[in-house]
Subunit: 340 residues, 2 copies
């Protein structure tokens, strides 16, 4: 069942006017006399008229709604990003359609195909770890769908991008560990193919090199699903702990991995930071309350969401395809607490 809506026709019939006049009055056209306009507006308010957005969308070829695809909503970083997106979107009369890829390329594609059925005016996406073939994304982009990448970008697609300064964040974190006297620093990274993972790896490597610490391959392990499952982090950590020269510090490459590592150390009763230090990317507010309070690299998630939506707005509202695209790099924050 559905709600029976009142339409422009109802108004025009009641007031003995044409639908054109009513439509124009509601849109405050100058072609309508003030009296008629007032009459229509009053009556419309009285019967609680709301324009049918589907009809409007069909006519205007604009839905005033955007799609957002992230890997998981229940992830502090992404929920904060969405928060930022929503705040700008609702201010500008846009509805936000959210779907989750759950780090699965298949689900991502499904959502994408669904959202792009001439339904959304624009898309903000943070690609899943699995994504390797972005044919479809590229296709809709070339057909003219405005897209903004957030956090996890695809270099091959030229459009606006909003990312954190992953290189610098990783660099600062690693350098911090070095300054604290740690030398056997392991990296538990996200999927190697991810843009953020590459940048963070690079920051890690450069910091080590500058300190003349050799970068060892066996000190770098990967979680191909970004720590979505704890077991993934567990086996990554286990492989590190089996090493002949165990690490004395862990640098975790994502929110879920960071908390996963923490969980691992708790489970294994590894003392932090005495036996093993821990620092990682995380936007979870509770990291501060952990024992020990976690040192983290925090991304300006809310602001990144705002920036992405603002950029998307500019694309959607511009008449002609934009030529110049910008990549906004927002700086991360290093919060040093007790775990390092």
């Amino acid at each position: 069942m559905k709600l029976s809506a009142v339409t422009i026709k109802d108004i025009s019939r009641e007031l003995n006017l044409s639908t054109s006049t009513v439509s124009r009055a509601l849109r405050d056209s100058h072609e309508i006399s003030i009296e008629t306009k007032q009459l229509i507006l009053d009556y419309a308010r009285k019967i609680n008229y709301k324009p049918n957005r589907n009809a409007q969308s069909l006519k205007e070829k604009k839905s005033h709604s955007i799609g957002v695809i992230v890997s998981e909503i229940a992830n502090s970083f992404f929920s904060q990003v969405i928060n930022g997106i929503e705040s700008i979107a609702s201010k500008n009369g846009y509805t936000v359609n959210i779907s989750q890829s759950m780090e699965s390329a298949e689900r991502e594609l499904m959502n994408l195909e669904y959202l792009t059925s001439s339904f959304i005016d624009g898309l903000i996406i943070s690609v899943s770890t699995e994504t390797k073939n972005h044919l479809y994304l590229k296709e809709v982009h070339e057909k003219g769908l405005p897209i903004v990448f957030v956090d996890r970008v695809i270099d091959e697609i030229e459009t606006h991008k909003v990312i954190a300064d992953n290189f610098k964040g990783a660099y600062k974190a690693t350098k911090h560990l070095i300054n604290k006297g740690y030398s056997k620093i392991a990296l538990v990274s996200n999927h190697a193919g991810l843009s953020i993972a590459k940048e963070r790896l690079e920051g890690y490597k450069v910091a080590l090199s500058e300190a003349k610490i050799p970068v060892k391959d066996n000190m770098i392990v990967f979680c191909d699903h970004g720590g979505m499952l704890y077991s993934e982090v567990e086996s990554a950590m286990n492989s590190l702990m089996r090493l002949r020269t165990k690490p004395d510090a862990i640098f975790a490459g994502s929110d879920k991995i960071t908390t996963g590592c923490m969980r691992f150390m708790k489970n294994k009763k590894i003392r932090v930071p005495e036996e093993l230090a821990l620092i990682g990317f995380s936007n979870n507010d509770l990291t501060e309350l952990l024992s020990p309070p976690l040192s983290v690299i925090k991304q300006p998630a809310f602001e990144m969401g705002e920036a992405a939506m603002t950029l998307l707005l500019s694309m959607m509202e511009s008449k002609r395809p934009q030529q110049k695209f910008e990549t906004r790099i927002q700086s991360t924050e290093l919060l040093i607490r007790k775990s390092t």
Copy 2:
């Protein structure tokens, strides 16, 4: 700018057929010969035809999208609920439109009015703490919009409701504290007008009464915005700590309040549970890793989301207004850890 979509007309023109035939072929009607059908299907796939959902919605008077209004996405409980909703929705071809009230009745109403512009087929809502006048909600409900309440319900509106067993959860938590030897148990509650707050208060009171512990009003404090701001929790806790007979245990009435209390105790260097025990409602995965690990009452958030969406589906898909509504009460889980 927008993406130029391919329509049924493009197909019909190219193949020298009528739009009716094309439409019927795409919908696999028996009135179309197999050869023609195949021809159309092949060509449609070739040019990557996607039906225009706005046009479909206009024709069918169904948008196949639902609205979800919660107080905040970046709240583990709600993000898990949304997770559950989305999983069922996408399986059934529905798009989820999420908006946040941020515990503001004004924002809630804005979102509601926006979503209900003949745009959504159904609504799942967890009302904000501020909400007191639900006139508009009642109005759209009476006009026939299927609504399902989750977690925070409005008794006056008769429809499906999905809630956790708040009474029992609170009862069990309080009883647990009593069994552990605590007797001066304070309740830091959510806004008093909220259904969940009332039920939890009741569970708290009954448990105390059964143990012949008098219920004292000054041991019950309220956070009118559900702990949205830390300052709110802080002042609530401060008023408790100023009491002549301070509490020896805190029972926190919501996710944000629980973590807020924990934060307060850390800040004030109050030893948990020696000086003050803490238990509370929370769905945050990290509570386990806090020091001490928090005892919590956990709600089946994901399952609640699933249930809500399932109920909403049944309402949306039924031809006539439903008469019988159910209130699904899902049981909570008491996780006893070190904070009590």
